[in-house]
Each structure stands twice: as C-alpha cells, then as structure tokens.
C-alpha cells in the first residue's frame, strides 16, 4: 500500500490574486527546511468548512509530487497539510 505524509507545517507562499473562477493561485512555497517548491499545476481548489471558519484547500503539484496547501481565510495563514510523492 502506497505511503502518504500528512503534515501540519506552516509555510510561506507566493500567490497571485486575479480574475476568473479561481482568483487566488498559489505559485511557489517555501517549507520550514528552506526548500522551495514551484507549483506547476493546481489540481483542485475547494473550501473546507470548520464551523464558521473556511479553509481553502489547494491540491497542487510541482510535477514530481502532489501537495495539499491550506489557506485559512480568517487567520490569513498557509499550511502544508499533505505530501504524496511515492508513486515511482
């Protein structure tokens, strides 16, 4: 059975805000260990509600691994919640 890594890691994110169906687009993020990852595709963006708090979930890839980024719209923070790169 394949492995997946669930995390709760605070990250720095560069995102652009524009128009269209997905106005917020994370472009690049830096992990706690200093590693920088450039996002090549946003797979899906969906909201996740925790009570009256909304988290925006971005499932993204850099072409080598899949990541899940969570943007807390109340606290304006980004977290890395998941990494899956075990498909070789």
């Amino acid at each position: 059975m394949n492995d997946e890594l669930y995390l709760n890691e605070r990250i720095d994110v560069i995102a652009t805000f524009g128009e269209g169906l997905n106005p917020c687009r994370p472009r690049r993020f830096r992990r706690g260990n200093g590693r920088e990852i450039t996002i090549s595709e946003i797979g899906l963006r969906h909201p996740s509600v925790k009570g009256k708090r909304t988290l925006h979930i971005f499932d993204v890839t850099d072409g080598a691994a899949d990541y899940r980024l969570e943007f807390d719209s109340e606290r304006l923070t980004w977290h890395l919640a998941f990494e899956g790169d075990h498909y070789a």
Partner: protein, 407 residues
C-alpha cells in the same frame, strides 16, 4: 409496433460523472493521472473499494472488491482514502452547472443528476447542451473531469444512454434507435434489473432486453412482477416517464465495520454511541423526529442479528437515541464485525406534540438546539459525549452514495 413507443423529442438528460471519486482524486492530484487508483473508506488491505479509476477497471478491478484482491490484479494500484469535502465540492459545482439549464433538476446521487427540459421554450439542441456541460465541467472543476451524458424521452432511457459509451460518452436513445440500442445490451445492463429480477424474467422465457421490450403488459404485470411494477416496466421501456417521483424519507441511519475484531463490548458500545450521535445530527438536520430505533450486528460468521423498538412519543436527541440503542444492543451476539443503527417512524419536527411531559421535552429540545448551534459554529463534534471522545479517529464522516440529503 412503433406507435407503442414514445415518439416525442427526447427532453430528459442524465449526467453521470465517470468513476466519480477516483476521477476527482486524479483531478486534484495530477501525479495520479493515468495510474490505477482505488478509493477506499479506510486504507487497509481488507477494505472494499468504493471507486476505481478507469485505469484500474481496465486491469480487472471492480467496485466492492477487497483492496488486497484488487492489488493482485492491478500491480501498482494506489489506495486513496476518500475525502468527502472534495467530492461535496464537485457535487455542488455539478449541481450548479445543471441548474443553469432548467429549473427541473434532480440530483440522483453525489455523482449523477437529471435535467428535465419539458416546458422550456426556445430550447437549443440537446446534443449541443450535452457537449457544453462536458466542457463546463472541465473549465469549472478541472481538465481531468469527464462525464457521461445520456438523452432520452424518460429518466430510464436517459440513464441507459449515459451508460452506453463510458467514459466520456454522449448518446441519445429515441424511438428510432430504441430497438437497436436494447439489442446491444444484456438484461442486467438495465438499471433496476439485477440477478433476482433477471431470474424472474428468465422464468417466462425473457432473456434479452429486446424480448423484455416485446413482452406484453399482462405477462409483466400478472406473471413476472405480480404488481404494478410490471406495468411500469412496460411503459418505462417504451420511453414513457414513470420515475418522476420523490420518495419520502423512511429512515436515517449509519453503519460501521469495526476496525478490529478483538474490541471489548464497552469499546463496541462507544462506537455505537458515536453512530447514534451521527444519526441524531442527521435527523435534526432534516428537521425530523423519530419514534423507533433499529440496531443490528453482523458477526464474523456472517450471522445477522437485529432488534428494534417503537416508542409512543417521538424523540430526536442523541441521548434518547443512544438510550434506546444501548438497551437493545446488550442482547447482541459476540464476535461482531459490523454494527449499525437507524431511526424510523419519522415525522416532521414542527408537528405539535401534546404530552404530559411537555415541559421536559421542551427543555430537551432547547438543550439539543443549543448544542447543535455550538457545533455548527465551531465545527462538527466540538461538543459531544465524553464516552465517544476516543472514537472519532476510527469513525469518520463518509459520503453516502445513494442519497444527497446530507451533502
């Protein structure tokens, strides 16, 4: 014979996401695209597969198969645990797209919906609308998303058309191609005909959908189905609408396959308590009260045990539901592998209840409403019984397949 078929222009469209959960996972995680993927409710080898991607299906993987068996058939099969929030989002997107075309949209389940175009004026060609819906799904959800679109004169033929060319098909069944289409199918390809009904039909010499279509109404009604169901099949196959019905909610329930076989009775009761809280929450979300509780257990030897109790007064609190379930469940056998509970005897919560215990019921109502308000504000299970504190890691909210009531 042609005049017996519904010759009107097909105006019912069925839209069905292909291998929905697996496709959504492949959309969300691009690294999964083109690979065999199985979506499970729990990532263990003994869990049944909820959805398989088309790549996995091509290797022989079927829905309902245990992951361990499937992994033999499909080396490299990737197990993904289901993610209800994601599927709910896509369901809402699909619903929103379908609602743009007609006020008469019914979502049949989390991954399929029906649009009825009857009564709309200046209608564009249905095929054109079908292609547009496919494109909008890609634009508004993601480029890996695919759906089948079926067009027919009734819901049954539209659904049958949607299943003709998976994945990503678009077909229409009308009175001119009805016979040729049915000739290419097996009886069990028809929605509503599984093994049992197939045996009934075989019993009177009906072995193919075409023979089914050509059979007379009396045979179906008096001999095969022995009820009005036979008449409905006679009309349904000819393209007349008999399925435009809304069924009342009869019961609300949940079940859970135990994560281990060596749990103590107290641990099993904690899990039952958790299910009761979940059922109570669903009951109240539908603004219903119940009068009956039904519990069941399946043992490792596949023995089915059940017990139920119908009360005079309606109830709707988690405490009341668990109180009844607990009393019933102490008679359950040992070596349990699955437990379940449902509430029945449902009625609307706003019906006035005259009772000697009116004050007590009103107080319970207020308390439960206050708890629900807190949970709605701060998130599910912010407040719950201390008895179920350690159970949430095992029992998670899953997507109900057949119903869209809780989405």
């Amino acid at each position: 014979m042609l005049e017996m078929y519904n010759t009107e222009t097909p105006l019912v469209m069925h839209v069905d996401l292909n291998s929905a959960f697996a496709t959504i996972e492949q959309q969300a995680r691009p690294m999964l695209r083109g690979r065999p993927v199985a979506v499970l409710n729990r990532r263990t080898e003994h869990t049944a597969i909820v959805t398989a991607s088309y790549e996995a299906k091509a290797m022989g993987v079927k829905v309902g198969m245990k992951f361990k068996e499937a992994a033999y058939l499909a080396p490299g099969l990737i197990a993904i645990e289901s993610d209800p929030a994601k599927y709910r989002f896509v369901y809402k997107k699909l619903t929103s797209i379908l609602n743009d075309y007609s006020p008469h949209v019914v979502m049949k389940s989390i991954d399929e919906g029906v649009i009825d175009f009857h009564g709309l004026v200046n209608q564009r060609p249905m095929i054109e609308i079908g292609h547009e819906i496919k494109q909008r799904l890609k634009n508004e959800v993601g480029r890996a998303m695919r759906c089948n679109v079926g067009i027919g004169t009734n819901r049954f033929l539209a659904k049958t058309a949607a299943g003709l060319h998976k994945p990503d098909g678009l077909d229409e069944i009308n009175h001119t191609n009805l016979r040729t289409t049915l000739a290419s199918l097996k009886l069990t390809d028809l929605t509503g005909i599984a093994d049992h009904n197939q045996s009934r039909l075989n019993g009177v010499g009906i072995y193919t959908p075409l023979q089914f279509l050509d059979s007379d109404q009396v045979t179906l009604q008096k001999i095969v189905f022995k009820s009005i169901v036979g008449l409905q099949w006679h009309q349904r196959l000819r393209g007349y609408e008999v399925d435009d019905r809304v069924f009342d909610m009869k019961r609300i329930g949940r079940q859970y396959v135990l994560e281990r076989r060596d749990l103590t009775r107290i641990q099993i009761m904690q899990r039952l308590h958790h299910l009761c809280e979940s059922v109570g929450s669903r009951l109240r979300s539908q603004n219903k009260v119940a009068r009956g509780v039904y519990v069941y257990a399946k043992t490792a030897e596949r023995h089915y045990w059940h017990a139920s109790r119908l009360c005079q007064l309606p109830f709707y609190s988690d405490k009341a539901i668990y109180g009844l379930a607990e009393q019933l469940f102490w008679q359950a056998p040992s070596a349990i592998r699955e437990i379940g509970i449902h509430c029945y005897g449902l009625s609307d919560d706003d019906e006035p209840q005259m009772s000697l215990f009116g004050d007590a019921l009103a107080r319970e109502h207020q308390l439960v409403d206050a708890l629900d308000t807190i949970n709605q504000r701060y998130g599910d299970r912010t407040l719950h019984s201390a008895d179920t504190l350690d159970v949430s890691n095992f029992i998670r909210q899953k997507i109900p397949f057949g119903s869209t009531r809780y989405l």
